[in-house]
Symmetry: C2
Subunit: 465 residues, 2 copies
Amino acid sequence: MARITALPRNETGIETVIGILKQRFGDRLQTGQAIREQHGHTTTWIDNQPPDAVVFPTSTAEVSDIVRTCAEHKVPVIPFGTGTSLEGHVNAPAGGISVDLMQMNNVLAVHAGDLDCVVQPGVTREQLNTHLRDQGLFFPIDPGANASMGGMASTRASGTNAVRYGTMKDNILSLEVVMPDGEVIRTAQRAKKTSAGYDLTRLMIGAEGTLGIITELTLKLQGIPEAISAARCSFPTVDAACQAVMTTIQFGIPVARMELLDVIAVQAVNAYSKLDLPETPLLLLEFHGSEAGVAEQAEMFGSIAEEHEGTGFAWTTSTEERNRLWKARHEFYWATLQLRPGCTALATDVCVPISRLADCVNAATAKAEEMGLFAPLVGHVGDGNFHISPVIDKTNPAEVAKTEEFTAWLAELAISMDGTCTGEHGIGQGKRAYLSRELGQAPRYMAAIKAALDPLGIMNPGKIL
Amino acid sequence: MARITALPRNETGIETVIGILKQRFGDRLQTGQAIREQHGHTTTWIDNQPPDAVVFPTSTAEVSDIVRTCAEHKVPVIPFGTGTSLEGHVNAPAGGISVDLMQMNNVLAVHAGDLDCVVQPGVTREQLNTHLRDQGLFFPIDPGANASMGGMASTRASGTNAVRYGTMKDNILSLEVVMPDGEVIRTAQRAKKTSAGYDLTRLMIGAEGTLGIITELTLKLQGIPEAISAARCSFPTVDAACQAVMTTIQFGIPVARMELLDVIAVQAVNAYSKLDLPETPLLLLEFHGSEAGVAEQAEMFGSIAEEHEGTGFAWTTSTEERNRLWKARHEFYWATLQLRPGCTALATDVCVPISRLADCVNAATAKAEEMGLFAPLVGHVGDGNFHISPVIDKTNPAEVAKTEEFTAWLAELAISMDGTCTGEHGIGQGKRAYLSRELGQAPRYMAAIKAALDPLGIMNPGKIL
């Protein structure tokens, strides 16, 4: 991959830092090849660039200590959560120290009366929701993977529930961050709103670890709805499904989830998850509210679907049935890989204004077909966000070249529709080429902020900018 | 006011810039004393510090031209909207050029299908909602004053509807900004979500014009609800009212507005707006949704109110009745001033986690009474945000000293409860003393960002930091 290059290494600094940290952290510093490779990028076709060592801190003070030591010797620091990011965020193109935050995995406080909680960055989505369930609360952001809260904040993750509950940027009240000089700051108090100075909370959300390491998060919570119902509905074409989605959003129906799967995606999950969904474009939906509210929403959606030739609209309030559907949706990525064993999937991530959804989806599927790519499509279509994912043999240069051509074409298409090349996966290494294309001169000011907060350039180098 | 001091002036630069701009802008550059004073702070007890000139651009290119000229000669630039900010944001402590954006007041596009619109910064809240009404849409943020969108974004405004719809930070998709070097950037595309790089949109929201001038805003819109009902309910004490509020929020009832008025505030609006509300602590509420949903919400709130000794719970779907109530609420500030003619009100603005609301309100009212301050209280209590506003004779040093003591005490109290000294008014000049107290070392990094983006320090100097 031409765009994933190595950066100059500070060999002396790295050696010195490993020596110092080894003394302090003992077995909690690892330099074995397997563990190092596991802490480089492993999820998509982007090459693995392992760090020189992996350290496992258990407290903010230890993270601060690591960062101070690395700053003193100008050594790269790469924060690591579950490693489920898709754009090479955890790679170490200049080597350096991977800071694995998964031992900082405590839920520190649940303030049920305030509908918030305080967690360490290694707490995962499933762990948190299991912890909260007894109190009738949940954290709504669900990117599919059982990612860590620190990682989800760092990539401004969203996923299936965002259409109703927003993204990570909408669900974090405050962060504790170890800054690039090792100082520990809190970006805000726990109040629900504030206008006290620059919004450092939102600046750190989506910064992909390039401005500091998140060591604590105060998250907004939601009450588990009185009623939840899941529904599915088949459509003759992806266009018809998209038209139904656009109408639903424009009518302001507060759907909690609205996911599109195209025919190949349905075939993949049927095979992988042993389901028998009709093999046509499919919408999976979820409604949250009171019993009456959920029934009202489902009925309204049913009418819209009917107008757009939707068939087989069926809804269920059975938790088991619902979980089965969403599990299948979440396993889509692995299901896809099984369709072409030994291959890799490249999940594109464009997001366009909802009125352009059908245009963008139609153009993307037509282009993939025209190029002979095998590329199933799923999408958080209520937000105008979808992933069409060529499954390719990365040892075949022709397939790789074709896929690169397709992803570049798709990014341009989304941008031309006033959309983004990345709705939720972030820039990382994989999408750096498109940032200026999308935002013109704005990245120049991002670079100025980066230089001001991380003058040594040690925080997750080679990402975003 | 000891804390509002003048800063060193660049006389030569200011004179040169006025000469250059006079040639370019003719009568659209004004230097008369009345207009200059009107463009300094006029709303609270903070002294007026007029700019040296006021310029009225009509396009982004003109704003860019003004900023470039000022940058070249190191002259302060102070963006100006409707001048309704409360913390001295539009003062010119080092002199300079006030950029009045009210001639840039066009709604540039309404994308009804995407539930968004693009506006210039001088568009006011009422103007926008009048423009949108025919299309069944509205912009939900309502700080009371008929403020401009640019100003509302710059102070991260919120107000009565925030409990349901969030603050300005939650309702802006993208900004066009003239940066301190005169460059024009767009912070994001129009897609509903993005993870493309640092969140410059949110960085500019609440930056109070210290990092650039907002020249265009892409705003999220809402469909006008099928049903809206307003309600009021009286309580024997503010504590009882706060308990009802806390329970309502904890139950997740999606109230659209929930405003508290204490006895003095009710008396003030009764007198000013010729109403006959019962003179006890009062909650004003609004519910948005379907006919059935609104009825359900009102009924649930009714039960909660009853448990907390609420009386006279009455709700209405009459638009006229509803508008009369909210007009009275919005006129509270002027109503208050009429209670002590010739005096000034100082609106405090603390916001605490909802579970601490009753504690904070009770302590604040007791302290004001103990100090002999005449201080009505209103609040966006669903967010834990309230304004207790001493009405004082600013020519009386004893009253001024007492009020300063009270506001400092209240800021400390809110901070000790994990709250903020400013929920929605911003820092400006008036609250600079509390920022470090609230956020520790974080303002140091805000200062680094400021220095990186505005190395000459020309953008609205003397505010926030």
